[in-house]
């Protein structure tokens, strides 16, 4: 089987798992090379394999004959680290190995996939992209991920107006999955919180191939008072869906990182997006009042 064939097969299997039905099973077996005729002869079950990434790591316990399973689980409940995975000889068990690879694959997907166009449309985001041509350039040239071309600058100007009080913008960053998992719950919470102070925000911009520094360019272009940028965090093996909110008073080119306030770890297992949004709204209000952000905010 060449690489393309394998890829096709995996794609179909995944599609089948998602649809949950057995309709596609036949097509897969049909495409199995003739040399593996046994596979076709085996009775085909319509059941899906369970999705191993759905298993909760904190309660997944693979040690054989534990002395005190309950206590081990108690320790495990405090961390998603892969403790208590048991072993086969000197190595992991197959399940552990598969899970690590599945999580790693999810992390890579989060980086290399794009936030879908449907998602951007559904949320009425205005689409712009940085100077990066593609993902490879995005990963190798952080500087380009912080700046916009002439055309994009015009779109930003038109969308945000001049000297807006607050902008909420979204960047894919290193995890498109994080953006798709969290912004729909977080943005309404921020907007609701801001409306308490009679602050309205212009439509949100979505930035493809975005680094956090992209907010500085937008600040430069619009002279916004506060920009709140939601951006996907570099995914790890625990979650690929963690997002951060970087909030900055008057971001401009060359602003020191210490002037950004960040709320990190926004995901299902961390700070929930709704609560993070409500908190962000109050932070933004404080920044407007104190005309400061980052560590300066703690001084005043």
């Amino acid at each position: 089987m060449d690489e393309q064939n394998i890829r096709k097969m995996v794609e179909q299997m995944v599609e089948q798992m998602i649809n949950g039905g057995g309709n596609q099973v036949k097509t897969i077996t049909n495409q199995t090379p003739a040399g593996q005729a046994t596979a076709a002869a085996t009775p085909v079950s319509s059941e899906c394999l369970p999705d191993i990434t759905k298993i909760d790591l904190k309660s997944w316990f693979l040690v054989d004959h534990p002395k005190n399973k309950e206590e081990y689980l108690h320790m495990k409940s405090k961390t998603p680290a892969r403790l208590g995975v048991g072993r086969a000889g000197a190595r992991y068990k197959t399940m552990t190995m598969l899970r690590v690879r599945a999580d790693h694959a999810a992390a890579q997907d989060a980086v290399f996939s794009d936030v879908s166009e449907d998602f951007i449309k559904k949320n009425n985001f205005v689409f712009v992209k940085t100077l990066c041509k593609d993902k490879d350039e995005y990963l190798t040239r952080p500087d380009l991920g912080r700046r916009f071309g002439k055309e994009e600058q015009e779109i930003i100007k038109k969308t945000c107006g001049q000297n807006p009080k607050v902008l909420i913008i979204v960047g894919d960053g290193l995890s498109s999955s994080a953006v798709e998992a969290n912004v729909e719950d977080m943005i309404p919470a921020i907007k609701q919180g801001l409306s308490m102070y009679q602050i309205n925000v212009p439509p949100s911009i979505f930035i493809k191939h975005a680094r956090v520094g992209a907010m500085d360019d937008i600040g430069q272009i619009t002279d916004a008072d506060v920009i709140c940028m939601l951006v996907g965090e570099r995914p790890g093996l625990v979650t690929a869906e963690s997002m951060s909110a970087y909030i900055c008073y008057k971001p401009k080119h060359g602003i020191p990182e210490s002037k950004r306030t960040v709320i990190s770890n926004i995901h299902r297992g961390g700070t929930t997006p709704v609560e993070a949004g409500a908190h962000a709204a109050e932070l933004i209000k404080r920044m407007l009042d104190k005309k400061a952000s980052g560590i300066d905010l703690n001084k005043v």
């Binding site: 919470a189 299902r268 961390g270 609560e275």
Partner: protein, 489 residues
């Protein structure tokens, strides 16, 4: 940003009245890169009062004036002003809670002791507070095991079962040192509680008021008490005799005691701690010179427990506090802090004695079911047709979407319409972390015209009451005391 809160604990028990002052340290332990998380990081007792006999005006009445004098004197001795007190609790325990003027005395005292000093009573809470004051919950948490604390005071023995640090059950028995009182000089029995009289009758013992007490003629009483304690922790089988010792709780048809079953079914215990005045004679090495030094059977009871199977079949752990366990518990274990992302639109605290209306998991299913459940249950909180202030509590989803939070807000507001007409504040206690967004949602739906208090990370049940104190830690959190207000009759 460490902040110190000064806390007072006052215990008015069957035999003794005491007070402690302690410092509670609170701090934001979250990193700069996340939402704040303010917790109590340390507790330190800075002053312990003398131990006074609880002044009584008559066998059925507490001498409120004398109690107040004692407290006033101790504030002065400690050099602490009432205005400096941030929090604390006055607890009235054991038989004292059954005195006619218990409620009145308690309320006067809590107001006198400080602005946010709560008044509590009720044997369940008493058990828990004493158990925590004795340190049983810490042993149980650190040893990852089941531990029972028995707080043996003058009138009652309060049991608290802890498993892995969590309270599993409580119980109360009429076993105590001052159920039989003896004249120190003459050795005559001067008082027998009703339960003791019944016990004496059942066992046909030659003991009456006026009888000269000796260790020997009291022995059957002591044996019966110790045996009941053994039954209560499940190391001896239950029998009909046991029911005599169960403390009757107000509002209950039949007197219930469930600790032994809980131990058998879900909370196996390995260790035992003792607190209360009698505990000193369980742990104590020396024999008191005079067994009737305190004019009661406390010393003998302690010695009887010490040599009983209670201390042989269970591992005895040294409690942190003995006679002061309840007062220390009241001073250091009653206050919690709310979650650190919460909503309050106006600082109108403290709010005291708020009853809880708790929704079940099914009831919080949809906005409609929340509305219905709240408006129905609000009727329970009507006194002669008038609605009182009430706080609505529910658990909520761990990871709610914005749409779901809006649903919660809608359901809550619709259900609380009647409260709105009464101009009562909207007070919500949600268990999972969402109080800031939920409070903001409600506030928006009220068009920012009505005030909202929405707190999270506080666990309450139907029948509880809460007190909410003034904001601390730069306004990020509110101190909360969850309590019961059950007076024994």
């Amino acid at each position: 940003m460490r902040e110190e809160l000064l806390s007072v604990g006052i215990d008015i028990g069957t035999s003794t009245t005491q007070l402690v002052f302690s410092k509670l340290m609170i701090e934001n332990i979250a990193s700069n890169f996340s939402v704040p998380k303010v917790v109590i990081v340390d507790k330190e007792i800075i002053y312990r009062s003398e131990i006074y006999f609880t002044p009584l005006r008559s066998p059925t009445e507490i001498d409120g004036t004398k109690v107040k004098e004692i407290i006033e004197g101790e504030y002065k001795k400690a050099g602490i002003e009432k205005t400096g007190i941030n929090t604390g609790a006055v607890i009235i325990t054991g038989e004292t809670a059954r005195k006619e003027n218990a409620k009145e005395v308690l309320e006067t005292l809590s107001g006198f002791a400080g602005d946010f000093v709560v008044a509590t009573a009720g044997p369940d809470l008493e058990s828990i507070i004493a158990g925590k004051g004795a340190g049983a919950h810490v042993y149980s948490k650190e040893g990852r095991t089941g531990v029972v604390n028995i707080d043996i005071g003058g009138g009652t023995s309060n049991l608290a079962l802890f498993d892995h640090g969590e309270v599993k059950d409580t119980g109360c028995l009429d076993v105590g040192g001052r159920l039989v009182k003896i004249d120190k000089n003459s050795g005559e029995i001067t008082y027998l509680s009703e339960k003791m009289k019944e016990l004496i009758e059942r066992k046909n013992l030659p003991l009456r008021v006026g009888t000269i007490a000796t260790k020997e003629n009291l022995q059957p009483i002591l044996d019966a008490m110790v045996y009941a304690l053994m039954q209560s922790v499940g190391i001896r089988p239950m029998d009909d005799e046991f029911s005599l010792f169960i403390t009757h709780k107000e509002g209950e048809e039949v007197t219930k005691f469930t600790c032994d079953e809980t131990i058998k079914n879900s909370c196996p215990i390995t260790s035992i701690t003792f607190s209360g005045g009698v505990a000193d004679y369980i742990y104590g090495e020396d024999r008191a010179a005079d067994e009737f030094e305190y004019g009661d059977i406390g010393i003998l009871l302690g010695q009887a427990i010490k040599t009983s199977p209670l201390c042989k079949e269970l591992k005895v752990l040294k409690s942190v506090e003995t006679i002061r366990a309840t007062v220390v518990g009241a001073g250091t274990q009653t206050m919690e802090v709310s979650g650190s992302t919460i909503t309050y639109t106006k600082d109108a605290f403290p709010i005291k004695n708020l009853p809880i209306l708790k929704l079940s998991k099914e009831e919080e299913e949809s906005a409609k079911s929340m509305e219905q459940a709240i408006s129905t249950k609000l009727n329970w909180f009507k006194l002669e047709g008038n609605l009182q202030k009430v706080a609505i509590a529910f658990e909520g989803s761990k990871t709610p979407s914005f749409v779901q939070v809006s649903e919660y807000a809608k359901g809550l507001l619709a259900g609380m319409k009647e409260l709105m007409e009464q101009e009562f504040p909207f007070i919500i206690l949600v268990e999972n972390d969402m109080a800031k967004v939920l409070g903001q949602s409600m506030y928006r739906m009220l068009e920012y015209k009505k005030d909202v208090v929405c707190l999270d990370s506080i666990h309450v049940e139907d029948g509880d009451y809460v007190d909410i104190g003034k904001p601390v830690a730069e306004g990020t959190v509110l101190p909360v005391v969850v309590k019961t207000l059950v007076f024994n009759k």
